[in-house]
Structure formats: structure tokens, C-alpha cells
Subunit: 399 residues, 2 copies
């Protein structure tokens, strides 16, 4: 029995991209069943050798963000190369790109040939200025409130939040535009600035709005959670735990667990506080922290794990990447399947994080650069092997 | 002239949620034109008073994540309340929720009444265990590599990355399922664990894969970028800048700008290095950093801004939230429109970060809790005002 076709079966997408956002969008759409052709310059785009690298020198990063796509290598500085790629976009009817300002693959140019085109551009800023996750993030406000309370100067995130969010907004925009086209026949031109992803998110979550409405200056809080009781503690054997008590029940369980119920009640009375109120648990955290920390310091990580597991408290043990890959969350999780990736080897690779009707779509390998150049030219543009050989000879495309 | 209907016009969604992921998904779908009814317990869910708060005590956080929805307040512990909400879900045919393990609104139960139901559950972990952004994040590996090189112990992110990514995967899953249902008539059951969002992302970006494939231990790098040349510098007047040179051209511009071309070339020769290779620029950053830092220390922020603006180098000035809201990126950006939010006031609120055919959809106010209880019961379930009054009297719903 064959499984049902994936939801985006039959959708064809051309991707001209580099780095994270658009590659992630394309990979996500490919995992949903679309046929995604990533088109790179001959020799690869600026992300083709990006770290981390395997011992072979091949980029783990590139392989990780291009799983399940087809790859073509085309000299897009040549007129002939541009013409070929434009034909493919017109044939596919969907373009996603972060290469902006090129007239030959602009919406206006291509729309003339394909009125129902879906065209998505990711740009740095709405005004057309450049920007990457690391620069956009500097201007969000987050690095100034990240890290220990006493620290001065910015602390960057390591996880490129804005790139990932932008890639997911891009994938969402494409599927929304596809559904709209199914219903109306109309195409869509979408512009998605990385900076606007960051600003919208910082505002939606209240970080910008609080500054606008109350003028409050959000302080650096270390690992505490603003307006909630939550922070990290360390065990007698030096293991870090993150502990969160969002509700009154969580908090009661935490005081019971740590044997601090009497001390916490006494502190509550002395302070005239009400610890059933989440904000007051946060405001008086300097009083609460040492009471709980004292218990954690007397217990081993194993004892803490057992004790917290028996409560409603939200908690987790901090882990390094090396520790994460050894946990059952990775080794015994249907999200991950063994993947043979040319140049890199066999490893556990994730599919999409959602299961659909109980099933995960397993990850597919990333292509070798230019692997599909000839098959796409033949299959999509009807070129003969002689014509393709001539294009290779002229340096317009590379296999 | 009226504008064309938004892409999800006519789609009806019930949301039973709290916190970030599912509320963000619902808000995103509402901004795309769906009619989203958020159903809360009478008095509000656990996120209803979450900080930041306005002076009125109303939650800026809640208002920020529920823009453009309708609100109903129902006692979902009562059988009658459950029955009403189940009827609304069956009528709407789409449920998004992070309240799991309730038989009465499970896929299996509701699917029997509505075979084409689209049902999405966000859960903590794939195995059904609880988890929130702060605990999930602790187990990803990121806090152990965030912050200054010399720091020991974890450094949490402030921006809830996994919640936001999860919310966007949820919105994507719903639109994909809607398109699939349009084509086939079939519903979909989707499960989306927050932990799997984090693991898939950490793997896609190579953090987990590198540990699997090469066994490399990723160090703490402060504000440097792994495998690339990029870091923060400080001006003579104490302003921090993030500077990134991804390409050979960026790097050449940076050495020219800082007058270090000769010194960098001499260092390159002495080290036997090749600074046209991004990895080598990263590996020798300890040699490069002081050369560039010396220039930044002699220039004011204004001078640095003018100088960097004339180059290809990627850069940004670090800003606090208070500074961000005063920039033209917020005050003169069509992403933001003035919104009158009851209980909070008038402020600049973002719409979706993407513009569609050149236009942004302006933000709509969040509802007051229970604001639409009566209109939904009347409009969707055909109840009379007498029947509704009786439900209010019995405490099953609240207006």
C-alpha cells in the first residue's frame, strides 16, 4: 500500500537563497511535499562552506538546511543563466529568495510572464537596507537584558531566533498564498523583512509595548523570568537545574518539596506579601531564592530529579549539546531518523517537528551542489542532452 | 471600494490556550483573516495576569498575544460548559490548543462528530510530559554556550524562541491542513511538541549534528559568531556595535575602514593564514579583534555610524527596548499602526511582519475577556437571549 500524497504534492518552488531564513522555508515546504529547487551560483553561494564542517570539509550547516531539495548550479551573472532561471521560475510559479534587487527575477518582471506568480522576498530591513540575524538582534533590545544581573554590555543569543522565525513566517506565507491561489487564481507578492520579524515579535511579546505604555526599564535578570517565579539552581554535585512555578499549585509544590513552606509563609507575612500572586513571587525573589537554593545545594542531581519528578513543578536539567544527543529525546524519538548524507555520513536527522495523523515524515538527504542541474533542464525545460552539454561547456550551468 | 477579502476569510477556529505558542498561532491566523474564538475559563487562564502589566493592572502580555480574536469565558470543568465548547469546535471544524489530555475535546471524541476536523495540540514533550520554553531551553544546549567565554553556568535566553517557533509551526500546520482539506475533504490530527520544535531546530542548524558527526565541543564564544568573523566593539563614547564580515568583500571593507589592511596582511603572513577563508578569519579572531577594537575605541558612535554606513560591512548599534521604540524602524514603519487597547491605552502595535501585495494588515485590538460570549452563543449555536442569561446565571459562561 502506498501512503497518501503529502499535503504540498504537486507544488513546485524555486529557491534562490543563502544562510538560514529562506533555506529553512524551502526545506520546510519540501518536507510538506513540495518540489523545491534551490538554485546556487556555480561553486555555491556564500553559505556553502559555512561552519560547522565535517572532517571532509563539507558543511554540516548547509546539509542541515537544504534537506530534501533539488540543487542546480547556474551562473546567474550571465544573461543566459538568468534567462534559464527565469524560465524555471515561470514554469514553477513560486519563487522564494533573499537575493533582492535583481530586476531579472523581480516580481514585476516575472509577473508579466506568469500573472499568478507567488513571489516572496526576504530582506534585511523594510527600507531595503541589509541586515542579518546578528545585526538585527543587536537593535531589538534583547542583548541588553540577557545574562547575569551585574553584567555590562550586550550578550548575543547563539540561536539565530530571527532567521528561524523569518523562515517559518515565509513558509506560512507561501502556503497561505497557495491556498489563496487555489481559490481565486491570483498570485501574491510578499515582502518579509527580517527586521520586521524581530520588531513584531518583540512587540507581540510585550517587550516594546511595555516601554511604550509604562516607560518601565526592563532590567537584566540573569536566569530569572520576568513577572514569574523561575530561575536556575545548582545541585550538591554541580548540576544546574531550571525550575519554574507558573501557578499557585506549582509554587506550593516547590515549597513543600524544599521543606520551606513554613519559612516562605513567615517571609510572606513579614513582607506583607501575597505569594498566590505571580507578580509578588517575582518581586520578592531575592527572599525566596536563597530558601530554595539551600535545599538544592544539599541534594545530588539524581535526588533532585527524583524529587521534582514527583511534583507539578516545571523543571529541566541543563544539558550541553553533547549530552542532548545521548538522551532518549533524540535517540528514541520518531522525530529523528537515520540519514545517510553524502560527504558527512550517517546521523540522526529531524523531520518536521509536528506529527500528522500520528506519523512523522522522515528527513531526506540534502543534494550535492548541482546534482539536479541536468535533470531539471531536461525535465522542466525540455532540453536535450546536447543542449545541456553545451551550457556546461559554456560555463552557464554546472552539473 | 472595499479591499479584497483576506486569505483566510471564512475560516473558523476555536482556540483553548494559554501563554505564547498557541495564542501566537491563533493571533497569526486571525491576522490572515480567520475568525478565531479564544475560549478561557471564567476569570481567565493562567496567562491572564501575566507581566508586563499596564498601570490599570491589565496584562500587556495578554493583549499583545490575542489581538484580533473573539473571547468567550466558559466554565470548562462543568459538563454543560464542555458540551457548549465541543459544539463550537464541531461547528468551527478547527481546534488549536495547548490544553492536552482532556477527553472531551480530544481528536478522537470530536472527530466522531466532525470527520473533517482539523485538530492541533501543542504539548511539552512528545511523550506527554510537561514543558515550557524555559525548561525546554535548558535541555537544548544553548544556555551552556551563551555569554562571555569565561562565564560558568547557564545563561538563558530572554526571548522565548521555542514558544515563538512553535506558534509559527502551528499556524503553518493549520493553513497546510486547510489547503489539504479544501482539496480532499479530509481533516488532520496534528501534534506539535515544544521540545521537538527545539530539537529539530538545534539539529537543522547543525548544533546537534556537529556533536554527532565530529564530536566537536562547541565553546562559549561571547558575542563572536562560530566559524565567521563577527563580534561587538565599543566606541570612544561607550556605545556598543555589532559588526559582521561574512564575505571576503565585507572583511576587506572592514580592514580598509579601520586602517588595518597592512597590519592584517602582516598577521596573515606571520600566521601562515588565508583570510579569504571565513573559517580562518574566525580561528584567528584573537589576533584580529584587538586590531579592529583599537580603531573603534578612538571613534565616537556618530563617527562609527557614518564610517560603517559607507561600506558593505554588516553592522548595527546595540539598543535598549526604550531606544528601539524611538527609532524610525518603529515610529515610521507601516508594520506598526496606532491601536486603542481597552485597559491599556493607545500604542503602536505590529501587524504581521510580511507585506502582501504592498500592504500590511493593521493590528486589531485584543478582546476583553468574555466580550463575545453572548454573540457567539447566539450567532453560532442559535441560542436565545433567555437561554444565554440562564447559562450566565448558572455560572456556565460569563459575559
Amino acid at each position: 500500500m502506498s501512503s497518501p500524497p503529502p499535503p504540498l504534492a504537486g507544488v513546485r518552488i524555486v529557491e534562490i537563497s543563502s544562510f538560514v531564513a529562506v533555506p529553512l522555508a524551502g526545506m520546510t515546504l519540501a518536507a510538506l511535499g513540495a518540489e523545491v529547487i534551490r538554485i546556487d551560483p556555480i561553486g555555491g553561494a556564500a553559505d556553502y562552506h559555512r561552519w560547522p564542517l565535517a572532517d571532509s570539509g563539507d558543511s554540516i550547516y548547509w546539509a542541515g538546511l537544504n534537506k530534501g531539495k533539488q540543487s542546480m548550479a547556474v551562473d546567474m551573472r550571465s544573461e543566459q543563466g538568468q534567462h534559464l532561471v527565469a524560465q524555471l521560475i515561470v514554469d514553477s510559479s513560486v519563487l522564494i529568495t533573499n537575493v533582492t534587487g535583481r530586476q531579472w527575477h523581480s516580481y514585476d518582471t516575472l509577473c508579466a510572464q506568469r500573472p499568478d506568480l507567488i513571489h516572496l522576498e526576504v530582506l534585511g530591513r523594510a527600507d531595503g537596507a541589509t541586515g542579518v540575524d546578528y545585526t538585527v538582534n543587536a537593535a531589538t533590545g534583547f542583548p541588553m537584558v540577557t545574562g547575569p544581573a551585574g553584567h555590562t554590555g550586550p550578550i548575543n543569543h547563539v540561536m539565530p531566533v530571527w532567521d528561524v522565525s523569518c523562515g517559518l513566517y515565509a513558509a506560512l506565507s507561501i502556503v497561505t498564498a497557495l491556498r489563496h491561489r487555489d481559490a481565486t487564481g491570483d498570485g501574491t507578492a510578499i515582502r518579509l523583512p527580517l527586521d520586521d520579524v524581530a520588531l513584531a515579535t518583540a512587540a507581540n511579546l510585550g517587550f516594546l509595548t511595555e516601554a511604550m505604555v509604562t516607560g518601565t526599564h526592563r532590567p537584566r535578570l540573569g536566569n530569572a523570568i520576568y513577572g514569574q517565579y523561575g530561575r536556575d539552581f545548582i545541585s550538591s554535585d554541580g548540576v544546574n537545574f531550571m525550575v519554574v512555578a507558573l501557578t499557585a499549585r506549582h509554587f506550593r509544590d516547590l515549597t513543600d518539596l524544599t521543606g520551606t513552606a513554613t519559612a516562605v509563609a513567615a517571609a510572606e507575612e513579614a513582607l506583607g506579601a501575597d505569594f498566590t500572586d505571580e507578580g509578588q513571587r517575582y518581586q520578592h525573589r531575592d527572599v525566596l531564592d536563597p530558601l530554595f537554593a539551600a535545599w538544592f545545594r544539599t541534594q545530588t542531581a539524581e535526588q533532585i530529579t527524583a524529587a521534582l519528578s514527583a511534583t507539578s513543578v516545571l523543571w529541566e536539567r541543563y544539558r550541553t549539546f553533547e549530552e542532548v544527543i545521548g538522551t532518549a529525546r533524540v535517540t528514541d524519538n520518531p522525530l529523528f531518523t537515520a540519514l545517510d548524507q553524502p560527504g558527512i555520513g550517517r546521523y540522526l536527522a529531524p523531520g518536521l517537528p509536528m506529527s500528522v495523523d500520528g506519523a512523522h515524515t522522515p528527513a531526506a538527504a540534502a543534494p550535492v551542489l548541482g546534482e539536479h542541474t541536468a535533470t531539471v533542464l531536461a525535465g522542466r525545460l525540455g532540453m536535450s542532452s546536447g543542449e545541456i552539454a553545451e551550457l556546461v561547456e559554456q560555463g552557464v550551468v554546472a552539473p
